[in-house]
Amino acid sequence: MNNEEKFTVPTATLTEKPDGYELRILVPGIGKKDAELHMDGKTLALKTHASYQNPAGFKQVNAEFERTNYALNAELPEMADPASLEAKLANGVLTVTVRKRAETQAKKIEIG
């Protein structure tokens, strides 16, 4: 007997901005109460437990997606400051933003 939960790696996009990074993770069917996010050193770990349900009493006649549990481990870039991490989950998209460490940010130098 196999009671192991199955997890799927979600589609994710990492974008670099002048002062930080944005990680956009697609988790359709996942609400705030269904997602757990942990930081371990520089590794971000996401685990979700789907609450999407097929409607009760109905017969499924076309199936192209199913209730999915997502899991993702992502290492933050070297220049990221883990203490500045913020996460927002809306409409099935988890957006994680993290600032670059101050000492690594580009600095404009005035020419005297």
């Binding site: 697609l26 097929n54 499924q60 076309n62 409409n91």
Partner: protein, 137 residues
């Protein structure tokens, strides 16, 4: 040589796929472009269509009801022309037309987004009064 068994391979396929073919033989999902995945559920009184659309909200999707079909399409963002007025909307990035096995009651239809999944509930229309026509002659 005689044929041993007179069989229809399609009926076997239907059985294997566990599709209620009598009801749903006419239902086909037509798709254009890269389209989001769809689940369709049916009972005697309604059809429920679920579509995975992470990051989308009500303003991003167009829903058009036909008497016996539903068209779900991406709603392209309005662009502003050089004169500052909204320019014509572009073609939708994707659309799906789902034919239904019965006529629907558009007045009682409802659609709702939950965590990036769109659920459209379409109740079956009340059966129109049956009318017998007398054949003359």
């Amino acid at each position: 040589m005689n044929t041993l068994i007179n069989m229809d391979p399609w009926s076997i396929l239907d059985t294997m796929l566990d599709v209620d073919s009598r009801i749903f033989r006419n239902m086909r999902a037509h798709a254009a472009g890269r389209f989001p995945p769809v689940n369709v559920f049916l009972d005697d009184d309604a059809v429920i269509i679920d579509m995975e659309l992470p990051g989308k909200t009500a303003k991003d999707v167009n829903l058009t009801l036909e008497p016996q079909a539903v068209l779900i399409a991406d709603s392209p963002a309005e662009t502003v022309g050089e004169d500052g007025k909204p320019a014509a909307k572009g073609a939708p990035a994707w659309s799906r037309r789902i034919e239904l096995p019965f006529r629907i009651n558009a007045e009682k239809a409802n659609a709702k987004f939950t965590d990036g999944i769109l659920r459209v509930e379409l109740p079956k229309a009340e059966a129109a009064g049956v009318r017998h026509i007398k054949i003359e002659g």
